[in-house]
């Protein structure tokens, strides 16, 4: 398969279709609007259905319906629009239906702004909606990974009958890189739980009330415990001899990757742990780190530190954990190296 140059949002959309997604219902908001734009023509071409809903609320509930009927369904949003999806996500999780969500993170709370940020970390990983649920959260760091992970997100959503989330950001979504697309896959909507019409067969029910399920607490906890154990993904770069280990995902990890190269060129032993799943946070990755590591540095493109809490838990505070925040300004890789050097000097 030859490489082609694609924008993150377009590539993700095409990959969703090729993963068998045949329903999209959503509402435009920058910087994710290329997703509904692309799917508005591509979905019908592939025999699926695209609906520009009147709001995010109706979009997510259309996804609920399409998922209940056994189809691979997706919606995407950003900023305030992603907040509006949370009630529906909680319902879909409670009804134990597979669906894929995309949050192209933009800056700030409220209306905020349209440029890249990583401020939705808690909303994404803690469950922005109410009650006892989690979503598998995948954080692509390139256009190719946006393609690869959307496919994984659909498969895992099916495997666990649970919504999954692609947590992208404005820069991964808007940039172009060469990508190789996967082959087209068809998905059979006739799952044994899917509501396909009775046709003389036994009664089936899709509902988000669980009072009739015996021992529900243990059942649902067991499901999420299994996901937490089995689904951790990460990439590690030169952590086995590192004095300082950067922890960063998505676009921040790209900047950190360059910081590692610069530092190593100067003889500074810098490494990088890149979570690919944010929930479950890849705590297992920390076993690969130099046992004599002197510090961790959580690099996040947000005004308030968030992922750092997971880093502290995962490393069990065996070394100091510090933060490097970006927020409205994209950090320079050299500034991250300087910070790592300063941390090491302060410990001498």
């Amino acid at each position: 398969m030859s490489r082609q140059l694609m924008k993150g949002n377009d590539a993700l959309s095409e990959a969703a279709v090729r993963a068998g997604c045949r329903f999209f219902g959503g509402y435009p908001i920058t910087p994710q609007s290329e997703i509904p734009e692309y799917l508005s023509w591509r979905m019908p071409e592939a025999g699926g259905t695209f609906i520009q809903a009147e709001s995010e609320l109706s979009g997510v509930n259309m996804v609920y319906g399409a998922a209940a009927a056994g189809f691979r369904a997706m919606t995407s949003s950003s900023g305030p629009g992603f907040s509006l999806l949370q009630e529906g996500i909680s319902y879909i999780a409670s009804a134990e239906l597979p669906a894929v969500f995309v949050d192209v993170q933009r800056y700030g709370s409220g209306l905020g702004d349209i440029f890249q940020a990583q401020g939705d970390y808690w909303q994404a990983t803690r469950g922005g909606g109410h009650g006892d649920y989690r979503m598998l959260v995948y954080a692509p760091a390139s256009v190719q990974e946006s393609v690869d992970l959307v496919s994984v997100a659909f498969d895992k959503a099916d495997q666990y009958r649970n919504p999954t989330l692609i947590l992208s950001d404005a820069s991964i979504a808007q940039m172009m890189e060469p990508v190789t697309l996967p082959e087209m896959r068809e998905h059979d909507p006739n799952a044994d739980w899917a509501v396909r019409g009775k046709h003389g067969k036994p009664f089936k029910r899709v509902t988000s009330t669980m009072y009739y399920i015996e021992d529900f607490d243990a059942y649902i906890k067991g499901k999420y415990d299994e996901m937490a154990e089995a689904e951790q993904r990460w990439e590690s770069v030169r952590v086995d001899d590192a004095d300082v280990v950067l922890v960063a995902y998505g676009i921040s990890s790209r900047i950190c990757r360059e910081a590692v190269e610069i530092a190593r060129g100067r003889g500074v032993r810098l490494g990088l742990l890149r979570p690919i799943t944010l929930w479950p946070f890849p705590a297992k990755a920390f076993a690969e780190v130099n046992p004599l590591v002197k510090a961790y540095l959580s690099v996040e493109l947000s005004a308030l530190p968030k992922m750092v809490e997971d880093v502290r838990l995962a490393c069990e505070m065996k070394a100091p954990v510090e933060t490097f925040l970006g927020g409205a300004h994209i950090p320079e890789s050299s500034a991250i190296v300087e910070r790592a050097v300063a941390i090491l000097n302060a410990q001498r």
Partner: protein, 178 residues
């Protein structure tokens, strides 16, 4: 690896110039990132895109030191000239960049791209003249190969104007003579 910024008024084709550079570089086996300017500055002001092109996978798509700047208008030169690395290249559209005062530690190639495109009766091809100048000045890709890439790109879109190639080659010559 080269870090290139294309900047100008919205409508001067700076994003397309960057896209062409990215497409043709990919076809010749290079790794690329292309990032559009994305923010409130797009409304009415300077539009820009930044590219990194190299033989190895591109780690960080962002950069603060520019190796080559395509400056389509005065504003973009004023905005980005200071970020050019010492020894870097500034391709200035001298039809619109007349403010003088270029840095003396960079290589400046002045090309009257808007006028050349006008002479060739392809006024929207000024960005291609500038692209020609970049290829001529940096030798990133063979000029004929790049011109074939431009033809292929527009043919694929079903609307290739043969004057596009001519605009591009005039830019290559202008850089060679600079």
């Amino acid at each position: 690896m080269l870090s290139i910024t294309c900047a100008g008024f919205g409508g001067q084709g700076v994003l397309t110039a960057g896209l062409l550079l990215a497409h043709v570089s990919m076809e010749s086996g290079k790794e690329i990132t292309w990032v559009p300017s994305y923010g409130s500055e797009m409304r009415g002001g300077t539009a820009s895109c930044r590219l990194r092109i190299g033989d190895e996978p591109i780690l960080n798509p962002f950069f603060s030191a520019i190796d080559a700047l395509i400056g389509m208008n005065q504003d973009s030169v004023d905005t980005f000239q200071g970020a050019i690395a010492p020894g870097g290249v500034l391709i200035a559209n001298s039809s619109m960049v007349r403010g003088g005062a270029f840095r003396d530690d960079i290589r400046v190639v002045e090309v009257p791209a808007t006028e050349i495109a006008g002479e060739l009766k392809n006024p929207r091809g000024a960005n291609l003249v500038m692209l020609g100048a970049v290829i001529g000045a940096t030798g990133l890709v063979d000029a004929e190969e790049f011109a074939d890439g431009i033809d292929a790109y527009f043919n694929k879109k079903g609307r290739n104007n043969p004057l596009n190639r001519e605009c591009f080659m005039r830019g290559v010559q202008a850089a060679a003579n600079a």
